[in-house]
Symmetry: C2
Subunit: 145 residues, 2 copies
């Protein structure tokens, strides 16, 4: 199974693209920081200061303002492929689509992992909408596990 | 399985309680309207103007500022029980916990239903945080299915 989440954001896709790839911006809606700009072929360390956690992601593909593909979990032997696609609905409106692939259909905890993964993406994309449309950067890091 | 979602909101729980039960407020973060104030024993019609959809929920229990229990899906023969609990972390901060029960463990579409249900709750609670803390009411009704 693949998790897919889509949200409409009333901003041009070039601005939304920058929110993901610019390490100065990601802390406004998702991780607290990334180690450098997201560029094809780079390995980026992303941190969650609030949980004292970090991990590496591998940027596989970048099409400016359109698409980002990255892999995470490679070091743990469970690589997941994330694809972020920015669809232009009109010049001022973007549909942000995220798919995540790599779940093991035979994992006895598959359902829990899919639900947990869905939680993370819906949360990140709603926080992104709050940041992009309303300049609100205080929505993130409030889910309680 | 039960879906559970929790989020921290920096507002007193009395204010968050009102956002759910007051039909003037719910349209700022979740459904577009509810037919009357949520009170124990009432059947409430909730509407999503954007999707031209509506349904009834049955309010089973209300403890002011602390807990709301309601059932939906009764008419469709698949009743689900939703419990919204407002935990006071400190007088100015609330942990909002939502559980939803009633999923059929033998349903071949169980995983899809749990994932979809999780999407809805994470989205509603993040929109609630945006409304309560930042006065933003434009986050809702933007998920694309």
């Amino acid at each position: 199974m693949i998790n897919q989440t889509k949200i409409e954001i009333r901003k041009p896709r070039a601005e939304i693209f920058e929110a993901f790839v610019d390490p100065e911006k990601i802390g406004n809606f998702w991780f607290s920081s990334s180690s450098s700009r997201w560029e094809e072929g780079q390995t980026i360390t992303i941190r969650y200061e609030e949980y004292d956690a970090e991990g590496d992601i591998h940027i596989l593909k970048v099409i400016d303002h359109e698409k980002i593909e990255y892999e995470w979990g490679r070091e743990e032997g469970e690589p997941h492929l994330v694809t972020i696609t920015l669809h232009e609905k009109d010049p001022e409106t973007t549909i942000v689509e995220v798919t995540e692939d790599g779940f093991d259909d035979h994992d006895p905890e598959l359902t829990e992992k899919l639900v947990d993964n869905k939680e993370g993406w819906v949360y990140a994309l709603t926080c992104l909408k709050g940041y992009m449309e309303f300049g609100v950067n205080g929505l993130r890091a409030a889910l309680v596990k």
